[in-house]
C-alpha cells in the first residue's frame, strides 16, 4: 500500500444526519449575522443592537407584531401558490402576474358591488380572484403541456404583459376621476375584508392565507392527487410508468397555483389598499418563490417562512426608525439570509471526509 497524502474532501451522502435539520436555522442566522455585520458597522450602527431591533423588538409590541402578520399574508398566499406548482415540477415564476390578475378582478367587481351585501360580495371577490389567476396561468400551462414550451420563460414574460395591462387600465378607463391619480376608485365597503383586530391592518386576508396553507397541507399529505403531484414532481418517468397522467396533473397544479396567487391580489385590494394601484405588490410573486423554496415545498415550512419574512419586513422598518440605518439594510439581510440558508440546505447533503 502506498501512503498518500490525505486531504479533506466533501463527500456526498444520501442520508444527512438527523441533527442537521434543526441546526440549519441557527447556523443560517449566525452566518448571516457574520456576513452582514460589516455592512452594519459601515452604516455606523452596532450590529448586536441592529439585530435586536431587527428580530426581537418587532415581537415585543402589539402594533408591530400584528404588522408582521399583515406583511406575511400576501407572502403566505404566493408561497402556497408557488409550492403547488413547484411540487409538481412546474416552475411557475408568474405568481406576480397572476396576483395582479386577481387584483384586477377584485377591483373591477369591488367597484361594481355597491348594492351587494358583504356576505355575498366577499366570497364573490375571492372566487373571481381565483378564477382570474387561473385564467392568467392557463396560457403558459397549456403551452407547456401541449408544446413543451419552457414555463419559466413564459410565466415570467406574462408578468411583464400584466404590468402593462395594469398600467393601461390605471392610466385609461380606471383612472380616478376625482384625484386624477393612476389608481382605481375605491371598492364598495361591502366588498372590503373585515378587520380581525380593530384599529389594525390585520384583516380576513390573513385567515384566507392560513386556510390555503391548510388546504396545501391536506392535499399534499392526505389526498391521492397530492401523491400524484409529488410523484410527477420528483420522478416524471416513474410517474408516467405507474400510469399517472403526467400532463393532466401538471395542468391542474399549475392552475391551482395561478388561482391562489390571484387570491393574494384580492387580499391586497380588499384588505389593505381598497383600490387597484400599480405598486400593489413589491414583488410578492417573486418572494413567493423564495418562500416556497425556503419552506422546502412543505405547508408548515411555507407558513413559517412567510411569517419569518414578515418579521424581516417589519424589523427592517423598526431598525431604520430606531437607529437611522437605511431600510435597504433589511433587504440586504433578507437576501443574505436566503443565500446562506440555501447553501446550508445544499451542504447538509455532504459530509467532510479524509480521503
Amino acid at each position: 500500500m502506498e501512503t498518500t497524502k490525505k486531504k479533506l474532501r466533501l463527500v456526498k451522502t444520501n442520508n444527512p444526519s438527523f441533527w442537521t435539520k434543526p441546526l440549519i436555522p441557527v447556523l443560517a442566522l449566525v452566518g448571516t449575522f457574520m456576513l452582514t455585520s460589516g455592512l452594519i458597522l459601515w452604516a455606523k450602527a452596532n450590529p448586536f443592537e441592529t439585530y435586536y431591533y431587527f428580530l426581537i423588538a418587532p415581537l415585543g409590541s402589539r402594533v408591530s407584531f400584528l404588522e408582521i402578520l399583515v406583511k406575511s399574508t400576501p407572502l403566505m398566499l404566493t408561497g402556497v401558490a408557488v409550492t403547488f406548482a413547484f411540487a409538481t415540477g412546474y416552475y411557475n415564476i408568474g405568481a406576480e402576474g397572476q396576483l395582479y390578475a386577481g387584483a384586477i378582478a377584485a377591483a373591477g367587481l369591488g367597484m361594481a358591488m355597491h348594492a351587494v351585501p358583504a356576505i355575498l360580495a366577499i366570497p364573490i371577490m375571492i372566487i373571481s380572484g381565483f378564477i382570474a389567476g387561473v385564467a392568467w396561468a392557463l396560457i403558459p400551462a397549456l403551452l407547456k403541456i401541449k408544446l413543451a414550451v419552457d414555463e419559466v420563460v413564459t410565466t415570467l414574460l406574462m408578468n411583464s404583459i400584466m404590468a402593462y395591462i395594469v398600467s393601461a387600465l390605471l392610466n385609461g378607463p380606471w383612472r380616478d376621476p376625482n384625484s386624477g391619480w393612476p389608481q382605481s376608485q375605491e371598492i364598495s365597503p361591502t366588498a372590503m375584508f373585515f378587520k380581525i383586530v380593530p384599529r389594525s391592518r390585520l384583516n380576513l386576508g390573513f385567515i384566507v392565507a392560513l386556510v390555503t396553507v391548510l388546504i396545501l397541507w391536506i392535499v399534499m399529505t392526505r389526498t391521492s392527487f397530492g401523491l400524484k403531484m409529488r410523484a410527477v414532481g420528483l420522478g416524471k418517468p416513474a410517474a408516467h410508468f405507474a400510469g399517472i397522467n403526467v400532463n393532466k396533473t401538471i395542468l391542474i397544479a399549475a392552475l391551482i397555483s395561478g388561482g391562489i396567487a390571484g387570491i393574494a391580489g384580492v387580499a391586497e385590494v380588499a384588505g389593505i389598499q381598497f383600490h387597484l394601484i400599480g405598486e400593489l405588490s413589491p414583488g410578492y410573486g417573486y418572494t413567493g418563490v423564495i418562500i416556497a423554496t425556503l419552506g422546502s415545498l412543505n405547508a408548515i415550512g411555507v407558513a413559517l417562512a412567510s411569517l419569518f419574512f414578515g418579521l424581516l419586513d417589519a424589523g427592517a422598518q423598526t431598525v431604520s426608525r430606531a437607529l437611522g440605518v437605511p431600510v435597504y439594510l433589511g433587504e440586504v439581510t433578507q437576501a443574505t439570509m436566503l443565500l446562506v440558508t440555501l447553501g446550508m440546505l445544499l451542504l447538509q447533503r455532504y459530509k467532510i471526509r479524509r480521503i
Binding site: R222, S224, A231, A238, F241
Partner: protein, 498 residues
C-alpha cells in the same frame, strides 16, 4: 513498430473492476478491433487512452515513448483522436466552424480561410462533406464524417471509433468502411470498438477480445471464424437454476405480437416487423446485445412507447393505442429496465408500492394511509424487502429497490410479466431471488418475457429463446436446441434462423 502500447491497464469504478491488467497494442496502418459484449471494458480502455479516464495502474506508450495522458488535450497533442457514439458537435454551427473549434489560436477568425482549409482537408482525406453546411442539417452518417474530419484536421495519426456503426444505416456503413480503408492506406491506425462479428471480420486486421474486463487475447482476423470468435466473446455459465418444474401442459397462446414496428427517441426505426407469441406458463427469453431494440420492445409492450405499425393482443384484447395505465389493468406487468425510472426516490416505500393502483387506496380522493401501510407491510414480508414502509426509496440498495418493483408488479397477478434486464447490477443473492420469482410466475401460469444480455440467465430460465438484432427477431429457438455459440452467432447478426 507499435504506435500505441498499453500495458497491464487496470481501472476500478468503486468496487467493480472495469479493466483488469489489459494489454493492448496498435500497429501503424492497421485496423484493430476491440471485441466484446457490453460491459466488457472496451470503451473504458479507449477512454483511458484518450484521457477521459485515468487508469489506476498500468502504462501507456506512444511511438515507443512512455507518456502520461491526463486529459484529452494530452492525447490530442499525441495525435490521437476519438469519435464517440454521442457526437460532440454544435448543431447550429457549420461544418467548418465545428472542425476548427478549439483549434484556433488567433483572436481574429478568418472564416474564408477556415472554410478553405477545412475543404482542403476534406478533399485530402477523401471525406465528402460541404464545409459551409450547417451540422443540424446533416444526416447521422455525415455528422460522423465531420467528427472523423475533426480528428484528422488535428493531425490525428491514431483514430479511435467507439461503436461507429451503431447509429448508421447499412449504406452509410459501406461508405465508412471505404473511407477507413483509404485512410489506413495513408498510414492512419484505427481502433474499432464493436460487438458485431461480421463488421469486425470484414474490416479489421487484428482483434483483441475483452471479457469481463480481462483481455482474452489478440488474434489475426484472417485466422478466425465467426464461431470461434463468438465462443471467445461470450462468458461461460456461472450459475444454475434447477427448479424448473415439468413442462406445463395444455399451454395456450396468451400474448400475440404481430408485425410490430416502433421508432426510438431519435425517430429512427428501433423495432422492425416483430412477430412473437407468448404462451401461458412459459418464459420467453429475448437475447441480444443491448441497443438492438430490446429497450424499445419492452417500452412498447407496456404502453409507454407507441408503435407505428402492428398489433399487440393480450388474451384476445387489442392493447395498442391504449394508455400505459390501461396496459397495466389489462394484465401487462412490467418491471422497469432502469430501476430508478420505475420508482420515485424521494417518496417512501409504501407510497411507491401504492403509486400504480392509487384508486384502491383512496376514497373520494383522500388517501387511506392505513391501507397503504398495511399493503406495504404485507409485501415487505412476502418479498423479503429489507426496509420499513416509511423509508425513502433512495436509501435502499439496488436489490431491495428491485424487490419493491417486483412486489408492485407481481402482487397484481399480471397475465404477462415483462422483465427487461431484471438482474443487471444486482448481487448474486438478489439476482437469484429475482430469477426464482420469475420462475414462480411461470409456474403460476403467467407468460414471462425475460429480456437479458446475460446468456446464462436466458439459457437457464427460458422455455423458448428469441434473438434480437437491429430491431428484428433473427431467430426463435427452443431452449433444448440453444447453446451459447449458436445464440452468439445470432446475436452478432452473422446468421439468421427463422
Amino acid at each position: 513498430m507499435n504506435v500505441v502500447e498499453m500495458n497491464a491497464i487496470t481501472k476500478y469504478f468503486g468496487e467493480m473492476v472495469a479493466n483488469d491488467h489489459v494489454d493492448f497494442d496498435l500497429r501503424k496502418g492497421e485496423i484493430h478491433a476491440l471485441l466484446g459484449e457490453n460491459g466488457a471494458g472496451k470503451t473504458t480502455l479507449m477512454r483511458i487512452l484518450y484521457g477521459l479516464y485515468k487508469q489506476d495502474s498500468g502504462g501507456v506508450q506512444i511511438n515507443g515513448k512512455a507518456v502520461q495522458i491526463n486529459s484529452p488535450k494530452d492525447s490530442i497533442a499525441n495525435n490521437i483522436g476519438m469519435v464517440t457514439q454521442h457526437f460532440a458537435l454544435v448543431p447550429p454551427m457549420t461544418v467548418a466552424e465545428n472542425v476548427i473549434l478549439g483549434h484556433t489560436n488567433r483572436f481574429v477568425l478568418d472564416y474564408d480561410a477556415a472554410e478553405s482549409s477545412v475543404a482542403d482537408a476534406a478533399r485530402k482525406y477523401g471525406l465528402d462533406i460541404n464545409p459551409r453546411a450547417m451540422v443540424r442539417h446533416l444526416s447521422v452518417g455525415q455528422r460522423q464524417r465531420v467528427e472523423i474530419l475533426k480528428a484528422l484536421y488535428r493531425n490525428s495519426r491514431v483514430l479511435i471509433l467507439d461503436e461507429p456503426t451503431a447509429v448508421l444505416i447499412p449504406q452509410e456503413v459501406d461508405v465508412l468502411f471505404e473511407t477507413l480503408r483509404k485512410l489506413v492506406d495513408d498510414g492512419l491506425s484505427v481502433v474499432f470498438i464493436s460487438h458485431k462479428l461480421d463488421e469486425v471480420t470484414n474490416i479489421t486486421n487484428r482483434i483483441t477480445i475483452l471479457r469481463d474486463g480481462k483481455s482474452i487475447g489478440t488474434v489475426d482476423t484472417c485466422d478466425m471464424s465467426h464461431n470461434q470468435l463468438a465462443a471467445l466473446m461470450i462468458r461461460q455459465a456461472s450459475f444454475h437454476v434447477n427448479n424448473k418444474i415439468a413442462e406445463i401442459k395444455k399451454s395456450r397462446s396468451l400474448l400475440n405480437i404481430k408485425s410490430l414496428s416502433a421508432l426510438d427517441d431519435q425517430g429512427l426505426p428501433a423495432l422492425r416487423d416483430i412477430n412473437l407469441t407468448v404462451h401461458t406458463g412459459e418464459i420467453l427469453g429475448i437475447a441480444g446485445v443491448s441497443g438492438n431494440g430490446q429497450k424499445q420492445l419492452a417500452e412498447t409492450l407496456c404502453g409507454v412507447r407507441n408503435c407505428t405499425e402492428g398489433e399487440i393482443k393480450l388474451d384476445g384484447i387489442t392493447l395498442n393505442g391504449k394508455t400505459a395505465g390501461e396496459f397495466t389493468t389489462s394484465g401487462m406487468g412490467r418491471i422497469p429496465e432502469d430501476r430508478l425510472e420505475g420508482v420515485v426516490g424521494e417518496l417512501t416505500v409504501q407510497e411507491n408500492l401504492a403509486l400504480e393502483h392509487l384508486y384502491q387506496f383512496s376514497n373520494k380522493g383522500f388517501l387511506n394511509h392505513k391501507a397503504i401501510q398495511k399493503h406495504a407491510n404485507e409485501l415487505i414480508v412476502q418479498y423479503q424487502i429489507k426496509a420499513r414502509p416509511g423509508d425513502r426509496i433512495r436509501t435502499l440498495s439496488g436489490g431491495n429497490v428491485q424487490k419493491v418493483l417486483l412486489a408492485r408488479v407481481l402482487s397484481t397477478q399480471p397475465k404477462i410479466v415483462i422483465a427487461p434486464q431484471p438482474t443487471r447490477g444486482l448481487d448474486v443473492g438478489a439476482a437469484d431471488y429475482v430469477r426464482q420469482q420469475l420462475l414462480e410466475q411461470r409456474n403460476r401460469g403467467a407468460g414471462v418475457i425475460l429480456i437479458s444480455e446475460d446468456l446464462d440467465e436466458i439459457l437457464a430460465l427460458s422455455d423458448r429463446i428469441a434473438v434480437m438484432y437491429e430491431g428484428k427477431i433473427v431467430g426463435v429457438l427452443d431452449a433444448s436446441e440453444a447453446n451459447p455459440e449458436r445464440l452468439g452467432l445470432l446475436m452478432s447478426g452473422a446468421v439468421k434462423e427463422m
